[in-house]
């Protein structure tokens, strides 16, 4: 059985209605943080700012967009300048924030982003925002696209401050940081009861048995699969149906590519340098001066993206850069499915083996 001392009991439903423990938690966070969490909009779970505890609703299914926008905004100012006055200043916009409702895959994704943005020349903007971010996780149930189980990202033991496990009547709460512990201690929750922990274990068994999507190889074997798949006909086939809309990049919690632009004010002397999201599946991504293009076709661009997730970044950081959230498959209008494509390459690779 799980160590019962790790858990405390928070009463209440998945919606932070009146008198629920969740409402108490959100209200505590609202005192010192800008709070973001999952809400229902147009019938779908999305991340949004929570001004009042009653807006929050925890979902067992994933949001379409990831939560990366709160750490790596779609657009942010890096620099302001005024050439007439010979001024320029770096801009780092960050404030204390809490993100509520992150599933284990999302928490793993943030841990990967932490590695990326600290690698080489550390990115002051990301790191400053990250340092001021409190993460409140929540558990989930896989839908038809989720495959975190195949990538070892199904559970988390760190990378969050507070984690909420839903049980029938309320939540079992874990903490993994001093900040998280301080907040939970302030709520004066009772310890979990053995039957509650048992219920949680039962739920986790059910969750583990509920995965429909899976990869047919171990994470450690994936770099080799992709290294040997450059010539596969799979790329041409998915390239022919890809519209290059970039959604697999923009919804991905670990895609971090960006473009930098200078935006000049009408005075022509003042301006801002801004960073905006970019994506390797977009037509112009690998175009450089002189009209040269390193990846001219949609097939090459998709091959690059898959390799980034399962091979190139694994070589650099030692782990896959896909957390199995399934968002790219879910968002793809032409139904390019990350597990199906990868499994096809795994099959081809197995066949090539002597």
């Amino acid at each position: 059985m799980k160590n019962i001392e790790f858990f405390r009991y928070l009463p209440g439903a998945a919606k932070a209605k009146s008198a629920s423990g969740l409402k108490k938690l959100v209200n505590t966070l609202l005192k010192e943080h800008r709070v973001y969490g999952t809400v229902k909009r147009d019938g779908f779970p999305v991340y949004a700012e929570i001004a009042d505890a009653s807006e929050l609703e925890l979902f067992s299914t994933p949001t379409h967009l990831s939560a990366k926008q709160f750490l790596f905004p779609p657009r942010e100012t890096l620099l302001r300048y005024d050439i007439r006055r010979h001024l320029h200043e770096a801009v780092i916009e960050s404030e204390r924030q809490a993100i509520i409702g992150l599933h284990p895959c999302d928490i793993h994704a943030i841990a990967l982003m932490d590695e990326v943005w600290a690698y080489g020349r550390p990115d002051a903007n990301y790191l400053s925002r990250r340092e001021k971010t409190l993460i409140v996780g929540a558990d989930c149930m896989p839908d038809e696209y989720c495959f975190c189980k195949s990538l070892g990202t199904m559970n988390v033991n760190d990378g969050f401050d507070i984690f909420l496990h839903k049980i029938k009547k309320g939540f079992l709460v874990r903490t993994a940081s001093d900040k998280g512990e301080e907040i939970i201690a302030g709520l004066k929750l009772r310890e979990a009861k053995p039957y509650e922990v048992k219920e949680l274990e039962e739920r986790e068994r059910l969750r583990e048995a509920s995965f429909k999507a899976r990869l047919d190889a171990l994470p450690k074997d994936l770099p080799e699969v992709f290294a040997s798949s450059n010539e596969s006909t799979v790329w041409e086939r998915i390239g022919s149906i890809c519209t290059g809309c970039g959604s697999c990049n923009t919804v991905c919690p670990t895609c971090y590519c960006f473009d930098i632009k200078d935006e000049v004010k009408a005075s022509l002397s003042e301006g801002e340098r801004v960073r905006v999201w970019d994506g390797c599946t977009l037509e112009d991504f690998a175009k450089v001066a002189g009209g040269h293009d390193f990846r001219k076709t949609r097939a090459e661009r998709l091959r690059h993206r898959f390799n980034r997730k399962f091979r190139y970044l694994t070589d650099r950081f030692g782990m896959p850069f896909c957390v199995g959230c399934g968002r790219c498959s879910r968002a793809c209008l032409v139904k390019i499915n990350i597990t199906e494509v990868t499994n096809e390459l795994i099959r081809e690779s197995n066949k090539r083996r002597p």
């Binding site: 949004a48 022919s240 519209t243 290059g244 809309c245 959604s247 022509l268 994506g279 209008l333």
Partner: protein, 252 residues
């Protein structure tokens, strides 16, 4: 010090609603700065004066009359830089819808059967301005985006290459945090349409109609399949593609 002559800007308007000129006029916060850097010599929506001496011509509207063809060619001759201002000018826009029918039929439908006997109603199939003259820069959209107009103008004044958008609306849509319209049981042409609009239509609850025209190298076949999978007939797909795209999808 000798006063440097300011670059001369001219705005021209052909067949359109002149809404893109209104967007230019709505740049109230920026216009004072811009007017200290340029001299505007033609702008029908805003002033009476006219001149044939200008450096940069912003051309709004599509070309639907022989007289417009002559005027447009003259503008090209006079200007150093020609900018297509808005969908009608850059892709032919909505006006291209009439190209689906014979011109005689269009005239009769709009002006009555007497119109067929009068020279006053002479009309040509709609064309984007680059089907007649060479265009240096494009400001897409119905209407144009203020941000892109300002970016282009400041870039030209600084002598740097303007920022051009060649990614589909899906990117802007995700950046705006929208739920995909296909998830909401609607359909759109965002995946093949040039963005730069911040996905304003979807953000406010509508769909992407494709007013900014196609991205370079669009995969229209793949998107037609997607639309069919979402319940559209082949004919409905064609109608969706041709609302703003008749001129570019079917050469007129």
């Amino acid at each position: 010090m000798e006063k440097k002559e300011l670059p001369r800007l001219a705005f021209f308007s052909f067949t359109c609603c002149e809404g893109c000129q209104l967007v230019v006029l709505s740049c109230e916060d920026e216009l004072p700065d811009i007017l200290s850097l340029v001299k505007i010599v033609n702008f029908r929506e805003a002033m009476d004066q006219k001149s044939d001496v200008y450096d940069i011509a912003f051309v709004e509207g599509s070309i639907t009359k022989a007289e417009e063809v002559r005027k447009l060619k003259k503008i090209r001759k006079n200007a150093r830089v020609v900018v297509a201002l808005g969908a009608c000018s850059s892709t032919g826009g909505l006006n291209c819808l009439k190209n689906r029918w014979p011109m005689e039929e269009v005239k009769k439908e709009v002006y009555g059967k007497d119109a067929l006997r009068s020279e006053l109603f002479a009309t040509l199939p709609t064309r984007a301005i680059d089907e007649i003259i060479q265009v240096d820069y494009y400001l897409h959209g119905c209407p144009i985006s203020k941000k892109e107009f300002l970016n282009l103008t400041t870039s030209l004044l600084l002598g740097k290459r303007p920022d051009t958008t060649n990614h589909p609306v899906c990117v802007d849509c995700k950046m705006a945090g929208n739920t995909c319209v296909f998830e909401k049981d609607m359909t759109c042409v965002g995946p093949i349409t040039r963005a730069g609009c911040d996905a304003i239509c979807v953000t406010y609850g509508a769909i992407c109609w494709g007013c900014r025209g196609l991205v370079d190298n669009p995969n229209t076949d793949a998107h037609a399949e997607t639309l069919k999978r979402h319940g559209l007939t082949a004919d409905a797909v064609m109608r969706k593609f041709s609302l703003y795209g008749t001129c570019k999808t079917r050469k007129c």
